[in-house]
Symmetry: C2
Subunit: 511 residues, 2 copies
């Protein structure tokens, strides 16, 4: 299916030969593959491997193309458009000025003397530097700067209308860092008879299955319903957990809202049903809410799991929940700065002590990221010198993405052989490609998964770079690609036209 | 021995009661404790817990003291001096101007237009921004920016006189991040009969034992010889590995050079012996070389493991080695920016592919840290506009620390009941306290480990904040404290005088 087994065998053989050092990991990987295979035809670790390998293989193709074009090799196209990764800056989004000015002055406080920066920028910098003690060169508390965590708590309280305690908030290196902390705590020890089961949506953001296998956990996939805009069906959750129980101890459920790679936005009623399900099965709730600023569909709105749980009242208000946020998405898209936070509620003090120890070993999240997170949760207020520019910049990004979400789904649905539910939120279209028998045969002959075959052909013939659906898992027999809606409108439209051309030729060729 | 068992029991009981969610971790912790206990009276995980708890408990004391003083509570002292953590900026070290200017302009490129910054700063920023593609808001390659890794490779090649390949270098979030990557790969799967054994020096930097237990590995402690300036004795390595073999598969050895908490600097001959030992036992070499810029003793010099291995020629040149570097130490002390790198040599491509997958899940190291690392490995050159200031700032830090290293060891050895080997490198004194029977009794009555009792009394009576030796592990029956040599000379001398007063009273009280 992929090259991974070959790799694993290669490593395994080395282990057999008794070679030392890093080959140990190879053995572990292979073990996880086989044991993971109990739960689904594609094992947790091979999914992780697949998804990552696919990105790598397509990345490889991508890099080769760039090199070839630069060295003047003739191509059927002149421009490459990267629709593969949720990295807004990479495709031209300008950073938010307030945020970068604060970062610059934190790095070089000499600039506080300069007249070129607004007073609110300087005030924020002074607040952050005071919180640091001696500037951004010092370690912070393992949980992050108290003052930033207090701002995060205020942001959450305002958003939800329910109190938030800064002692429940940890600042991390991106949302991945936040999720890793919680997942590490959830995974049981090697000696327990059964592994910790983590319910993960399919399609999903591959970090979850990859991290689950890394920590020796057990992935319990539950399918989202493509036909109804990737909705979440409780009966499917019941099916998934029932099938998994012989193999693991289900301990948590991951929900990504708004969705990635799906762009669905859950309604409050759907969230209530998930919370009831988690309560029935005593599951820890992991709410990936990094796209909370990215909601596009009319009538759709972001509602946090915490708010819903609080509204539901006891016994739900006592449930354990972790929510994750990131600086990489939203209107700021600061992927490279690696900033994120988690909020955990109803966690006993002794378990919090364990979290502190785990965070302590890694010292602290980068202060640059902590400072950026502070600007995101506590942006300029009306009357502040930076307010107008901030609102303008933020509004532009949001309205621009809203426009693009409509353009992309409308266009994709106009192309024969491609269907795509409405893009309600996040930054992606997860489009289904309906492949003919001939196309499937061609893929098999090429030794590629059908949607990998499709995306690589698309890249090579048009310079349009997307990610095949299997990287995110998908229902057997269905094939997809994920594309971002992030590029500048002109590039986006160009990419969609190219895609349509390609699809027409592809359909004709494999009719 | 510490409060940790209580915590673990508390969590275990919850697990018995079948509570959900995060309590799972408690069970795991307790498991690791008991299994770890096979190898030494203090298990790997409880060591991790101890060290971290001690920092926390003393941190708690520290914070209380600060609060009390601020709220006007009378104390036998007016000033608190923190000697507990290798955080130079926290105790007054000024950041290197070039480095912070580069960081500021990377964050806010508008400043490239300003006349206030040297040309070489702007040139460096343009180079880094070009490498990023669209600025520091984008993800980089999981291994980090190619151009920065090339600069690291050049730095290593110049340092050692042997080639270095940028494809062997990964940029990480601090050296802890680098070590975690390699340790994660070394740890075998849950199904292997025996755990992966990691040889770790005693005393050690607690991150190693903590991470080993986190990844389910097995700590093989080897003792450094205090009597001969914490030298490393091959017979002790042989003893340690022989004793551990029934319990684990020894797969790697960690060497910290220059030492932390010991300040010893290994000679080339010592390193050769370690390499031969590792080769005899087919061990992966983990060289923690984060203090390579911190060498103080006359005649002592930093020699890298890689250089030594290359000089030794085959078969040693084929050995697998990882070396770690950090931006948090040296002359720059940029702890809060979380920057580090690893160099791995003789690693097969399939294992490198595994590393790429593992790095990929975490996206990439913060670009701010990557930029800082570039400035450290590729500082201004003669003729560059920033050169003179950079050299001046660097030279000041280095000569100042060299002075302090002598002041501290001379002073400590002049105090009755305290001995401290010469501080040859790094940033610490690891001083031995010779405690009377009465003092040991007093500690036992207080329910504290003797050196914890000593350090907490010292803190409460003088405001001098040090770390008890047991946090780093030490030979049974010996007691130490670690203090940094980082504070401003005036504060350092004040702290030493206070320490002497305290020690005199302490000795008299428990005579």
């Amino acid at each position: 299916m992929t090259g991974t087994p070959k790799t694993v065998d290669a490593i395994r053989s080395k282990v057999k030969e008794g070679e030392v050092g890093l080959q140990g990991r190879g053995k572990r990987k292979s073990t996880l593959r086989s044991s993971g295979a109990v739960c689904s035809p594609v094992s947790t670790s091979s999914i992780a491997a697949n998804s990552i390998r696919a990105r790598k293989s397509s990345l490889g193709h991508f890099k080769n193309l760039v090199d070839e074009i630069e060295s003047g090799v003739e191509k059927p196209f002149t421009k490459i458009i990267d629709l593969s990764v949720g990295d807004a800056h990479k495709v031209g989004l300008k950073p938010i000025t307030f945020l970068r000015q604060v970062l610059a002055l934190c790095a070089y406080p000499e600039l506080l003397k300069s007249g070129d920066f607004p007073e609110d920028v300087k005030a924020r910098v002074q607040k952050i530097l005071k919180a640091c003690g001696k500037g951004i060169g010092s370690y912070t508390d393992p949980w992050g700067l108290k003052e930033v965590r207090e701002d995060v708590a205020r942001y959450i309280a305002e958003r939800d209308g329910y109190p938030s305690d800064y002692r429940d908030i940890g600042l991390t290196s991106g949302a991945a860092g936040a999720a890793r902390e919680v997942m590490a705590l959830l995974m049981t020890g090697k000696d327990t008879v059964k592994r910790t089961g983590l319910m993960i949506p399919v399609p999903q953001f591959p970090m979850y299955s990859a991290t689950t296998s890394e920590f020796g956990g057990y992935t319990i996939p539950y399918y989202l319903e493509e036909g109804t805009n990737w909705s979440l069906d409780i009966m499917e959750l019941e099916r998934a957990i029932a099938e998994a129980k012989p193999h693991c101890i289900p301990r948590a459920i991951v929900v990504i809202n708004p969705g990635n790679p799906t762009s669905s936005v859950l309604t409050k009623d759907e969230i209530k049903e998930i919370i009831k399900f988690a309560h029935r099965h005593r599951l820890f709730l992991m709410a990936d809410e990094v796209y909370q600023h990215n909601v596009w569909a009319d009538g759709a709105e972001f509602v946090s799991f915490k708010k819903t749980l609080m509204e539901m009242g006891p016994p739900y208000t006592q449930m354990q929940l972790a929510s994750f946020m990131s600086a990489s998405k939203g209107f700021m898209g600061e992927c490279g700065l690696r900033a994120g936070y988690f909020e955990i509620i109803n966690i006993p003090p002794d378990v919090k002590a364990e979290i502190t120890k785990s965070l302590f070993v890694k010292q602290c999240a980068p202060i640059t990221g902590q400072a950026v997170m502070d600007c995101i949760v506590n942006p300029p207020k009306p009357g502040d010198a930076s307010y107008d520019q901030f609102i303008q910049e933020k509004a532009f990004v949001i309205s621009d993405l809203k426009k693009k979400s409509k353009v992309v789904s409308d266009f994709l649905n106009s192309v024969e052989g491609i269907t795509c539910p409405e893009i309600s939120g996040s930054m992606y279209a997860f489009a289904r490609i309906h492949l003919s028998e001939k196309a499937l045969q061609a893929a098999e002959e090429a030794g590629l998964i059908p949607d990998d075959f499709y995306c690589i052909s698309l890249l090579e013939q048009t310079g349009i770079f997307t990610v095949p659906g299997y990287c995110f898992r998908q229902k057997p027999g269905t094939f997809h690609f994920r594309m971002t809606i992030l590029p500048q409108m002109e590039d986006l439209v160009y990419a969609l036209e190219k895609l349509k051309e390609f699809q027409t030729k592809f359909m004709a060729k494999y009719k």
